[in-house]
Subunit: 348 residues, 2 copies
DNA sequence: ATTAGCACTCGAACTCTTGGAGTGCTAAAT
DNA sequence: ATTTAGCACTCCAAGAGTTCGAGTGCTAAT
């Protein structure tokens, strides 16, 4: 049974009021603050109904109501309207984003910081998933005997490198040979199509002792694979302590404890980013219990997608209390992401 | 007036008890827990004296005493004895340190994490100060038109690189020329002796248009300078929330807020690392108000020095509550640092 | 379907009380 | 000159009790 118009308004109002006051909202307060042309008793009936349907709940018998996860979900999906930021707000964000940065990763970091500052929440960004990008250059450079640098340039203009250990008697010439041979065969290949076998077969007819060759190749391969790893960057954890929602030590502790395990968070973000294909290419939301990470039951995740190229993208977003101004936060994320994308384009 | 023997013992006992119980300690409790062969009244007199001298203080009239910053300082400087860790504790630490890591920065990170885990406090490491290290290789590699990678290998075996923008009409050959010319002249020079002028003069007689050359050189120079920047790595901030010392939101907020500004912390650590020349090459301590960072009035800093080479070193240490088991923590830091140094050596 | 009225609930905030651990001081003992 | 026993005093922490107000659900009337 779909909600009738007034019930929708009531739910909308409850979410708005609760978000702004942080107090459970009661029927009387609702009447005072909004122009329902009915009495509080009527609202009480509506609220009882909304509770039965699972949209709102009461912390205890004689308190007002607060939105449940489902209530927030309904609000986000069908009730709210996302407004554009005002010109001032846009200006504010733009001014914080440093346009002089010329390395993509720094650019993304900068946008992430901006996001945390403007929302007041934890922000995060995930490195682009590079499995679809392809190698444009691969060089192995001798650093000193026993130590080499594998340097890769990927299609997105991303540069990755890794120091690898090699047998100390491998010579400069041998490395150069191996390097150019691998490069010749692998250039243009997507990262996820490169396997140990591909790498090995790319150096077929080189007159270098097998075991030695094997080891160098293995190191080169693992360097390539490492370039494909997920990287997450979290920013502004301490801001969570400012929020009344986490003003009890227990909650705060659990939350920051979980966030400190960044690879766990990364895994989760990656998961939800894969789940939804963002409808209009915009944002994905997870609310409260929908989040499977420990200690984030009172949080919401909102992530958007930024693009390095048409096919290579990463995520940027926030983790905030589920009691947040979704409309505003979404438009902030949206604007930051848009600005970020523009700046990335300018770099190419 | 130096403290007489019993007063020293009293102060020692007060610090020990307060650290382990987190309760202000009174004369009776002291008698109960320690073998002073005097009455509580005598201890009361001693305590009054110690208070007059500024070693201890009372939170309020009818509470026990707690050590003042000065009291901790006395304890650390002259009272405590640093014990070796037990074999089990050493084993514990060793097992957490991953010996298979083969990149120095990862090694340091790993040691820092271990330090936070074993102490339960925030740990930190500062990248080595590289100004004294010298260039062993410098290459500029073309990535794509308009984009190049400056790659530096420093004497300590450290590899640094930076993507730089260059005019898009600079050709591969030109870059190679510039690169090898800079490398030839700069190899062997300590970082802090490299100025823009040095770099410029190293490419004196190259037949490349001046303005273009200038820009490439400037970028190369700034890449070199960037390699010399201080980098700090902080780990385990969330653990501070577990401590009773920061169980009030206000303190916790302020603390984490300050720690979130890592460049500020870096600046401070650098400062104190420069202040003291560690006597026996071991650790430096700052207690309570001695720390000039906001919100760290109830903390102590302990840092030690790790060495990449004889002349190149960085810092590793912890930030914990000033109410900590100094003796134990110091030996933990000491052991982690020793282990780290050993592992670094193994890499060379 | 809506509303007025009413009895009932429950937590937040306050006050009050009590108990215990601590102190400083004084006067006697060593 | 130290040390100690004794005592009056202080003050916080914790628990118990009280009050207050915003909320609720239900019923009967509109």
């Amino acid at each position: 049974m779909p909600l009738d118009e007034r019930k929708k308004q009531v739910l909308h109002a409850i979410v708005d009021d609760y978000v702004s006051t942080n107090d459970p909202v009661g029927s009387k307060a609702l009447i005072e603050r909004h122009n329902f042309n009915v009495s509080s008793a009527t609202l009480r009936n509506d609220m009882a109904e909304l509770e039965k349907l699972g949209y709102i709940e009461k912390p205890h018998t004689s308190a007002g109501r607060i939105p449940s996860d489902r209530g927030y979900r309904e609000y986000v999906d069908s009730l709210m309207t996302v407004e554009r930021l005002t010109d001032e707000e846009q200006e504010e964000i733009k001014s914080r984003i440093d346009t002089s940065i010329d390395e993509v990763t720094d650019l993304i970091k900068n946008a992430t910081q901006t996001l945390s500052e403007t929302t007041g929440f934890v922000s995060l960004s995930m490195s682009p998933r590079l499995r679809k990008s392809f190698l444009t250059q691969l060089k192995i450079l001798m650093i000193e005997p026993g130590k080499a640098l594998v340097l890769m340039v990927l299609s997105a203009g991303v540069v990755k490198d890794k120091i690898v250990r090699i047998p100390s008697y491998v010579t400069d010439e041998q490395i150069i040979k191996i390097s150019s041979s691998i490069e010749k065969h692998l250039t243009g290949k997507p990262l996820d199509e490169i396997t140990l076998i591909t790498v090995e077969s790319s150096v077929d007819n080189i007159e270098i002792p097998q075991p030695l060759l094997k080891q160098v190749i293995y190191e080169a391969y693992s360097a390539i694979k490492q370039a494909d790893e997920l990287n997450i960057y979290l920013e502004g954890e301490h801001r969570m302590l400012e929020l009344p929602d986490f003003s009890t030590m227990g909650r705060a502790r659990e939350l920051l404890g979980t966030l400190s395990d960044s690879s766990m968070v990364a895994g989760y973000v990656n998961e939800i980013a894969g789940d939804d294909t963002p409808n209009d290419g915009s944002y994905m939301i997870r609310i409260g219990q929908e989040i499977t990470l420990n200690g984030l039951e009172d949080c919401s995740f909102i992530t958007a997608t930024y693009n390095l190229t048409d096919s290579i993208s990463g995520n940027i977003g926030i983790i905030g209390p589920k009691r947040m101004e979704y409309s505003k936060v979404i438009s902030q994320i949206d604007f930051v992401t848009t600005t970020l994308n523009e700046n990335i384009k300018k770099l190419n």
